[in-house]
Symmetry: C2
Subunit: 199 residues, 2 copies
């Protein structure tokens, strides 16, 4: 049905093929254009989302219009606004395709039914939740404790391919620094690299 | 056995008294002096911790000696280094009593056994995990998007009693701003308040 998702689930879990097909068959495929919104702040997040290909971002817009990016969701990751999804409350964040993307959507009642009927899926889901907690913890530490230069270096190390795929303003919105600061950091780095190459 | 914890669990869950006693009886009570460490970075976090009274903090020390506080754990909350606890890896963070505190500790194998034997405890635990995710998400957004002034105002609103209980350097380490900036913000605020009172 959705072969790429099924291969992913087979590689990540011990689920038998029948269960994988059952999970896959409950999903709806959706294609997103570049910059298309999947969830807008104020709406209730009704779907669990798996990214088959492309790149999404979860971001918040402050009343002053400034955007702040919580995280990016590349190929073969899951995303949603978990608080809105769990509690049926309006979402504080937006989810948008940064580039042309294909996603699978499960409506919450369907996914809940899958979780309660398939213990191995529930365990897998708990592993993903744990990973989210570790990642968020590390992100808080990084933002609290690192200089803009260190944050940028971490970002380039962790996501080497993102720089080519993202507008710089989004990198800045993810790092929590101004575009001006980011431009200065990159400029200084290029100059250092040029200096090394001169030697 | 640990009456205060049992009352807490009865107020938060529908667990029958027998199960509550079973959970309570697996815990070890520990009293911590002010500034006493419960977990040091580099150790494996082997316990789930419930704070009966007092105040703990989870913090990270950078190689340059700077401290950054992930969160505080007041009375009737749970704490641990979740990644170290789950994976049996050395902890990146420290947990310390900010003031004289009493905690309950469950060794991981004991708590795992309770979780698998008591579905209602498992559900409660999942609720706590969700809350952690929401809180971390909101903390990331706050640090990314707020000015130091806004962060301080949020902190005072969210934790009105902490200011009197914490050294200012810890408030600064939680907000991710320098002590100098925090002092400046507080000074400006006091002057505004004095101005209002003069009128």
């Amino acid at each position: 049905m959705h072969t790429e998702f099924e291969d992913y689930l087979a590689s990540q879990t011990d689920l038998p093929a029948g269960k994988i097909l059952q999970i896959s068959s409950m999903a709806t495929l959706r294609r997103l254009k570049r910059n298309e919104m999947l969830l807008s702040a104020g709406e209730v997040c009704r779907y669990k989302v798996f990214v088959i290909n492309g790149l999404l971002r979860n971001f918040h817009i402050k009343p002053d219009g400034n955007e702040h990016i919580l995280h990016f969701s590349p190929q073969h990751t899951w995303t949603l606004d978990v608080e809105s999804y769990d509690k049926h409350t309006p979402s504080l964040i937006n989810i948008e395709a940064v580039e042309k993307s294909t996603v699978l959507l499960w409506a919450k009642p369907d996914f809940d039914q899958l979780l309660s009927g398939i213990p191995e899926l529930k365990k897998f889901s708990e592993r993903l939740i744990s990973r989210t907690i570790y990642n968020n913890r590390n992100r808080i530490l990084t933002i609290l404790s690192s200089t803009p230069e260190e944050r940028y270096a971490d970002f380039v190390n962790a996501y080497p391919d993102y720089l080519a795929r993202l507008p710089l303003r989004m990198v800045a919105a993810y790092l929590g620094i101004s575009l001006k600061t980011l431009t200065r950091i990159r400029h200084a780095q290029l100059q250092r690299e040029a200096g090394i190459m001169d030697k």
